[in-house]
């Protein structure tokens, strides 16, 4: 695609040169009304195109060079990429130093993801993603695979960044965000007595009997506990230690659970390795196919149950990649 655009850019460049040679033609004054007119028809370039090139030469000049970069956008405000939409801003991304620091803390210092997230003010999911991709990057390096370094340098120059400076608190994004639950978007009038302490738990119950309160839906419940202990006057050192230990224990338990599950799965599987394929046999419960033979968790094809995967509207794109 870019080669095509390159050739078209060349072509337009040529037309442009000729446009400069004939300014009258460029403005579109020449219009052939009669077939016997000897005046040449204006084929060079349209007014719209010449306007565009004038804009590119004047204001667009600012955006042409992307090699020696700093973030620059079309909008009126410094971090606004779309001129008409001030509600979308280009937010800072984690730079190389921050990614390295996150990876170091998680992999070398063995700090829990939640502790890293709380300390650096980066979302837990983002911390996990950074570690995952950094590990892959290190693997590529050890394998001698080539990284796209020039690309990374160029792009990171053009983006606003959050960088890590030791001993300085940087705020990348809020860590304790909760989704606005569908049930809570309706307006509700609940009469209660004036003397009653109507807390967040009560509010959640008022919306729905099973709805959890904001505290229970928090991704960082340990951080709330930390703040509570802080208010209770627990010394900072001890408080932090406890927080670290709690989050680490939770993470370890989760890892152990996953490993146990994988081991159980492995136990249930019989592997037969031929030189070309590895066959894996598992016990299947035939009851899960259900009454109509179309149970979602059922395996294989059943006699007498026609496929409907060629029917109209059947989507065959996978919904998840394990």
């Amino acid at each position: 695609m870019s080669s095509r655009s390159a050739s078209s850019a060349l072509g337009t460049g040529l037309k442009r040169c000729s446009a400069h040679a004939a300014p009258a033609a460029r403005n579109g004054h020449i219009q052939v009304a009669c077939s016997f007119s000897t005046t040449a028809q204006c084929q060079k370039t349209t007014k719209l195109r010449s306007d565009m090139y004038r804009w590119l030469d004047m204001k667009g000049q600012n955006f042409e060079d992307s090699q020696h970069g700093f973030p620059r956008y079309l909008g009126h405000l410094p971090n606004q990429p779309f001129p008409l939409n001030p509600l979308f801003r280009s937010e800072p991304v984690l730079d190389e130093s921050m990614r390295e620091e996150i990876y170091r803390r998680v992999k070398e210092d063995k700090v829990s993801l939640k502790a890293v997230s709380a300390d650096l003010s980066v979302d837990i999911r983002r911390v996990a993603a950074v570690v995952r991709m950094k590990a892959l990057e290190k693997q590529w390096e050890s394998e001698g695979k080539k990284l796209a370094k020039p690309y990374a340098n160029a792009i990171l120059c053009l983006l606003p960044k959050t960088s890590y400076t030791p001993g300085q608190q940087s705020i990348h994004e809020p860590v304790n965000e909760i989704h606005v639950h569908k049930l809570t978007t309706q307006q509700l009038f609940v009469p209660v007595s004036e003397s009653r302490q109507f807390t967040r738990e009560d509010a959640a119950k008022a919306f729905h009997r099973n709805l959890l309160s904001a505290d229970a839906r928090s991704p960082h419940p340990e951080l709330i506990e930390l703040q509570k202990r802080k208010l209770a006057g627990v010394p900072d050192e001890e408080n932090q230690g406890k927080f670290q230990a709690e989050t680490k224990a939770e993470e370890d338990a989760l890892v152990e659970k996953l490993e146990r599950r994988a081991a159980q799965e492995e136990e249930r599987t019989t592997r037969v390795d031929t030189d070309r394929f590895e066959y894996r046999f598992k016990d299947i419960n035939m009851e899960v196919v259900g009454k109509n033979g179309r149970g979602r968790k059922a395996v294989g094809w059943r006699y007498g149950v026609p496929f409907n995967d060629r029917r109209k509207g059947q989507i065959k794109i996978p919904t998840s990649v394990p």
Binding site: A129, L158, E177, I317, S320, V321
Partner: protein
């Protein structure tokens, strides 16, 4: 619409697209969709125009029916609840008084209790908004109605503040499309347009969680990691090759080759004449002495192995010529001639290596590997010799000597690889031989180190920097983009990464962290449309059929 239509980037009836095209940049810069669609139109017309503009940007390659199926009227948003607030308040203060919090005394210096006062990010946002409020563009934030109201009545902006602090749900109308794999690739800055991202998927250059995913319509789940082949990314985001420049270089190389061929032909003719003379002399001698002539010497090499050794010998001879820097006639060679000499040497070696590779049975896997390594190294060297970069970038140093040193080092390296090839002629390899090979590999940089030590510290540093840059971003004519790689023009205004993605540019991978959400004062879906246009589009899709 599955592919780019003829007037995809239209100047007459402009539509903003998901693309880094410069026509698109111009269209985006002059986009105005306020009064033209709002006034003198029925509500239906307004909605239709708004939806048409919106769909020009959000998934024009997705069929309308498909998008309608994806559309959801439940828009996602998130609120921050600072842990410090949750720990210190149980929320009952919000229900105090008549049910919506106690009324705040205006004379009270302390601000009313609210979660926002505990949040550093919200405080940061407010401080950032302060200067923007006084900004020279009064309608930046205001509702479009407010703008006309202000212009007419010359009153200060009235609607601005609530718009600034609300959660812009309507900007989330096209959030479901951001889940699509091709759109996510474009948002992660791995492709120059969504259509190109789509092509990368279809061509099998995209992996999701390590498995090739050929469906551009795959909807990413939170936590999915997608990778694009770095070569494709470099092609998509790099400066394109200039076809004229490429043609010029091609013709230059062709001329050079022709000249070389002519020279070789003349040399061969000379050689043949000499041989004939020699043969005649020998014949005369035979006739005189009656002994056997050394026919084996004159016979051509019939086995490829012999041919190879002969070629290496030839190469060695040429190398000695090049290193001594003397011509046949004993005159010193110029720099160009030297370079040309090197190139012809390398080419001969590559040719021989290819011939060796085509002999399938005679070589073991290790040997083949070695030959391939040699070929790739030699080819890279060849492409580098064509450029004058090495000499040009070292202005402050003695450029010629450094370039020559680098070249010699390279030749030594190649020679070491070739030597390794000769050592293990047997197809079966013992561990001792493998060790020997390792030693050889170690020997090559040792000689190179010696050469480097001969340079001054400044020269060494410059050489190191140059080699590092070159290793990261080499000149390579075989690539489909301009080398050394540099970003394409007009990239800067489109360079932003939304928060629902975490991107690692080094390996061209990104993780889809979560679905995009709206927050107070900002929506995560990148859209060029103002609030009210999105609202109209949302209303179009909201209708029940």
């Amino acid at each position: 619409m599955r592919s780019r239509r003829p007037r995809f980037y239209n100047l007459k009836r402009p539509k903003v697209r998901q693309s880094w095209n410069k026509f698109n940049l111009y269209n985006l810069a002059r986009l105005t969709v306020g009064p033209t669609i709002r006034y003198n139109r029925t509500f239906f017309q307004q909605k239709w125009i708004a939806k048409s503009i919106a769909r020009g940007y959000h998934g024009p390659h997705v069929r309308e029916r498909d998008w309608e199926r994806m559309f959801s009227r439940r828009l996602l948003s998130a609120v921050e609840l600072p842990p410090a607030y949750l720990a210190s308040h149980d929320g009952s203060e919000q229900a105090a008084g008549r049910g919506s919090g106690r009324e705040h005394d205006p004379n009270d210096p302390d601000p009313p209790i609210s979660a926002t006062n505990f949040s550093p990010t919200e405080i940061k946002r407010r401080s950032r908004l302060e200067p923007e409020k006084k900004f020279a563009f009064p309608n930046t934030f205001a509702h479009p109605d407010a703008y006309y109201f202000n212009v007419k009545h010359r009153t200060p902006s009235f609607f601005g503040d609530p718009v600034r602090d609300m959660t812009p749900y309507m900007q989330m109308t096209f959030a479901p499309l951001e889940r699509r794999l091709d759109v996510a690739i474009f948002r992660a800055l791995f492709a120059s347009s969504t259509l190109q991202a789509r092509q990368f998927c279809v061509h099998g250059a995209v992996k999701v969680n390590g498995k090739t995913m050929r469906h551009p319509a795959y909807l990413l789940n939170p936590g999915d990691m997608f990778q694009v082949d770095p070569e494709r990314v470099l092609y998509a985001t790099g400066e394109p090759k200039n076809p004229k420049e490429a043609a010029r270089i091609e013709s230059m190389l062709k001329q050079q080759e022709e000249r070389e061929a002519a020279r070789e032909a003349s040399a061969a003719a000379l050689h043949a004449a000499k041989k004939q003379q020699l043969a005649e002399k020998l014949k005369n001698a035979d006739q005189q002495g009656g002994g056997d002539g050394p026919q084996a010497e004159a016979a051509s090499a019939d086995t490829p192995l012999e041919a190879e050794t002969q070629a290496v010998e030839e190469g060695a001879a040429a190398e000695t010529k090049a290193t001594t820097g003397l011509d046949k006639d004993g005159e010193p060679l110029t720099a160009e001639e030297l370079a040309a000499e090197h190139r012809s040497q390398l080419k001969a070696l590559i040719r021989d290596a290819k011939r060796l590779l085509s002999e399938k049975d005679k070589m073991g896997a290790k040997q083949k590997q070695r030959v391939r390594l040699f070929m790739s190294e030699a080819k890279r060297a060849l492409s580098r010799l064509g450029k004058k970069d090495v000499a040009d970038s070292l202005e402050d140093l003695n450029a010629e000597t450094t370039a020559a040193a680098a070249r010699d080092g390279l030749m030594n390296h190649l020679a070491a690889i070739l030597k390794g090839l000769h050592l293990d002629q047997q197809p079966t390899q013992t561990s001792a031989e493998a060790e020997k090979e390792g030693e050889d590999a170690a020997a090559a940089p040792r000689t190179f180190e010696e050469e480097v030590e001969a340079l001054s510290p400044g020269e060494q540093a410059a050489l190191a920097r140059l080699l590092k840059e070159d290793a990261e971003n080499p000149v390579d004519e075989s690539k489909p983009y301009l080398t050394p790689w540099r970003p394409r023009k007009y990239l800067a205004p489109f360079a932003f990464v939304p928060r629902y993605l975490e991107v690692n540019q080094n390996i061209c991978a990104a993780v889809y962290l979560r679905h995009p959400v709206a927050r107070r004062g900002s929506a995560e879906v990148p859209t060029p449309l103002p609030y009210e246009t999105s609202q109209l589009a949302f209303n179009w899709y909201l209708r029940r059929r």
